[in-house]
Amino acid sequence: MSLWADKYRPKTLADLDYHADISNKLKRLSTSGDFPHLLVYGPSGAGKKTRVMALLRELYGSGAERLKVDVKTFQTSSSRKLEFNVISSPFHLEITPSDMGNNDRIVIQDLLKDVGQTESIDFTGLLRGNDQKAVSSNKKKFKVVVINEAELLSRDAQAALRRTMEKFSANIRLILVCNSTSSIIDPIKSRTLAIRVGLPTVEESAKVFEEILQREHVANKVFPADEEERRILFGRVCEAAEQNLRMGIMMLEALYMNNEKVSSGTEMIRPDWEIVIDELASGIIKDRSVVKLQHSRSVLYELLAHAIPAKLILKRLMLDLWTDLDSFGALKDKDGVKRKMVSAASTFDERLSLGSKDIFHLEGFITRVMVIVEGELTK
């Protein structure tokens, strides 16, 4: 038994439930002899990695699923030992720069050099046996290197990648997967085919949920039988998960596991950190006091300690404040207050990038918000 989100992950391009155009594009790519470097981007929970894995399967057949996890050790220049995981199949390997810390350039260069300098010998016939999907051998000259979380690559490493991409283009194809391309340098963007995987719509998510439930017979009985009620429920799940499909499926499973009967009115199980931030936001609008500030600092520190990124905290706070303001009766000039808040949020967002201790900026934002609201009320 696995989590639904893992268990029902589509394995082939044909199984994918939405973004049919992307699937078609990828399919055509995989059957053509040439295959460019790819840059797959989009918000988390949209299905980027699922599509990449399906593409690999399309290229190499089920052999691409024979994965193994290796722990690689790497000696850094300061002779410190670095250990990180490399996931690989006979046809591709997967690396994650965040595992490598500050040494990502050296590690990636080394790894790619290793792969790039050896022409792959075609064992596919042997390995695959009678697999009907045999692809003509000229396409398997290259190995695919998937780089996860490519936005976390240091500038250094990206510059190194750029050269590698050209030098070893005969033997290596890169697939960079990232949430946003804003921190990917232009030369890399120009050398890759960018594919954006957007979030599924509510209907598309609902379709996925439905399909999972059709295969989970026991769970299916827990959910409402009425189609309309189901639609409402799935819509709520999708909304609570902010269209993040992975989170939505997790939520669905959590709903099933925690309730005897799920109806359209059942309370959603949202991630704890979101709830913490929501409460913080409504608190600082209502209670503008020193005590609240003191308390907010504890909460902020707690969130930071759980490695929740400060920028995410700020963003969510701002969005929560925005909605909270609408229901805050005593305030007259709501638009003015919102404008000031957004301005403050963007100021402190930039400071977060420039500075090193997040707490100053987050507390700075909260104080500013309190002062803005207070100032408006006492006007």
Partner: protein, 593 residues
């Protein structure tokens, strides 16, 4: 005997041998004396008395003088013969100072010739021997020199020895043990911000979490402060009168002035050393008072002191000005058109702080942030400006390498904070005790949680790769989504029913623990040892059962595999390395790729 040795340093020579000569607060002395008496009489459950404080605050002298006094009273001075029974054993190792016949001191053996007495275990052996020093053979043990605790094994052995001493059957009488711990911060950049022994040498870091639990159930702590000016002056006068020979040629007024200067440092040992140097070498040449700006310890500003100055403003404007002028004289950096006056107090005290703590400005700002709310300020623009200012100062942290930029930056944030704090301060209300910034504690926790996340991800990869369901999970997703939901599922009612009643430790919490376990800022210093979270072994087993990893009959083996991995990660990595060294494995690696 000692008097005749004119070559002894004055600081040694005038070490007080009786309680009357000690220049320590009377109450503190009584406190120490009471405790020693209770320990000797066996009335107290404490077996160790710990004196902590900064260097030169008279801990060791107090310990020895009082122990001697109490024991003399108890035994009567005639009862010295009884010592000879075990004296030989002890005498060849530790020092016995003839001035304190009833006190045994611990000294590190610098060279150890045999393996039997390695320096690691030397302290515990010393304590073993000392256990015999009771009843007719009463002595008091004073440990003022600690073994080399920066050496991990020595530290562990030291802690163990203390623990054994405390935990020994309460029927056994033990001689009183007095431990003097000089507490200090090291200014090493590398360790700054962490609460480890390397960064701050304090009782808390020396003892570690386990021993600290025995406070007042095995040991008692008395804190010493810097020696007050009045007492210090008194002690210095005693030295002057004792050395009248040397001081004869120096005019009384000059000596008085010098004593006034020296009595400010709070470090009695250092003051006497400085006095000696001044009297014997400096004055004959220069004919002037030394002025502490050239001689003697810098008036150490601790960070709390500075925060107080910034948040509340200074209480000693005159000293502040003097200090400032001193810095100016030393560095000659500023050219003043006119000498600053007390009116410029804010800028002067801030300049002093900036000068002293520039290299620490981030820590300083974090501490200001932790403490500015004690002013109980109104929610107005000034408040927002204050935090805004700290936030701006943080964005300048990229100048860390340039000292002058750092001073400017510190000056900027401190001066701004000072001005705003003085505006925000509504009433001249009470002073609160400052709190330590919890930033380093939070960092410590964060690091721990990140390690948990890494472990979570790699165990997930392994699990899913085995059943061909693997797909990469980013660190963020692990924290934001899976870290919550997966444990939520494990903790759900249905999972509990399905897996039977197997929750000894209560509920399963999110990766890294709930958000309720809030880190608070401390008034007191506590060492960085995270609270125990869920038993990781238990979680692993739970996960294995939930995900059905152990369904195909080899349950035990599975568990063993996990255990092996857990117990000895080093072995694993070594195997890995061997693999890499194997010339064939390289080829096979390439083939796999």
């Amino acid at each position: 005997m000692v008097e005749s040795d004119t070559r002894a340093l004055w600081s040694e020579k005038y070490t007080p041998t009786s309680a009357a000569d000690l220049c320590i607060n009377k109450q503190k002395l009584d406190q120490v004396r009471d405790h020693i008496m209770q320990m000797i009489a066996g009335k107290s459950s404490d077996r160790i008395l710990i004196l902590t404080g900064p260097s030169g605050s008279g801990k060791s002298s107090t310990a020895k003088a009082l122990a001697e006094e109490v024991l003399c009273e108890r035994l009567g001075s005639a009862n010295l013969d009884g010592n000879s029974v075990f004296f030989d054993d002890i005498d060849n190792a530790p020092d016995t100072d003839s001035r304190y016949p009833h006190v045994i001191e611990y000294t590190n053996r610098t060279t150890s010739t045999s393996k039997l007495t390695s320096s690691v275990s030397y302290f515990s052996e010393f304590l073993e021997q000392c256990k015999l020093l009771t009843l007719g053979n009463e002595k008091c043990i004073v440990v003022e020199e600690l073994p080399n605790l920066y050496h991990q094994e020595t530290l562990l052995s030291f802690r163990l020895a203390i623990l054994k001493w405390i935990e020994l059957d309460s029927k056994v009488r033990l001689p009183p043990l007095i431990l003097c711990v000089t507490e200090f911060d090291s200014d090493d950049d590398h360790y700054r911000g962490s609460f480890t022994l390397e960064a701050t040498f304090k009782l808390e870091t020396v003892f570690g979490r386990k021993l600290l639990q025995y406070e007042d159930r095995g040991w008692h702590r008395i804190k010493f402060n810097q020696v007050a000016r009045r007492f210090l002056k008194q002690a210095l006068r005693r030295v002057v009168s004792g050395e009248s020979e040397n001081f004869r040629s120096i005019p009384k007024g000059v000596v008085a002035k010098e004593l006034e200067e020296l009595s400010q440092t709070g470090d009695i040992r250092n003051s006497i050393i400085t006095l000696e140097y001044w009297c014997r070498f400096l004055y004959p040449v220069t004919g002037k008072e030394s002025s502490t700006s050239i001689l003697g310890k810098e008036n150490g500003l601790n960070i709390f002191h500075s925060i107080g100055k910034i948040i509340y403003g200074t209480q000693h404007p005159k000293e502040e000005l003097e200090n400032f002028m001193k810095t100016v004289n030393i560095t000659n950096r500023y050219n003043f058109q006119s000498v600053p006056t007390l009116d410029d107090m804010n800028s002067i005290s801030v300049a002093n702080v900036a000068q002293d703590l520039a290299s620490n400005s981030e820590k300083l700002n974090l501490n200001i942030l932790e403490n500015y709310l004690v002013l109980n300020p109104p929610i107005n623009d000034d408040l927002s400006k204050l935090v805004d200012l700290l936030s701006q100062a943080d964005t300048m942290s990229s100048f860390k390498t340039d000292r002058r930029a750092l001073i400017l930056m510190t000056y900027y944030s401190c001066f701004g904070s000072r001005v705003l704090c003085s505006k925000l301060k509504k009433t001249s209300g009470g002073y609160h005790r400052s709190r330590y910034s919890r930033d380093s504690k939070v960092n410590f926790k964060r690091q721990k949680i990140i390690r948990m996340v890494t472990a979570f991800r790699s165990s997930r990869s392994e699990r899913l790769a085995r059943i061909n369901l693997y797909s990469h999970l980013s660190e963020m997703d692990a924290i934001l989504v899976d870290g919550f939901y997966q444990y939520q599922l494990l903790d759900s009612r249905k999972a509990r029913q399905k897996l039977g009643n197997r929750t000894p430790g209560g509920r399963v919490r999110r990766l890294g623990g709930d958000f309720k376990n809030i880190v608070l800022a401390d008034n007191e210093f506590t060492p960085d040892v995270g609270e125990d979270t869920d038993d990781p072994e238990y979680l692993k087993r739970l996960e294995a059962r939930y995900f059905g990893l152990d369904e195909d009959g080899d349950e035990d083996q599975e568990a063993d595999d996990y255990k092996e991995f857990d117990d000895d990660p080093i072995v694993d990595s070594e195997e890995e390395r061997e693999d890499e060294e194997d010339p064939f494995s390289d080829d096979s690696l390439v083939l796999q790729l």
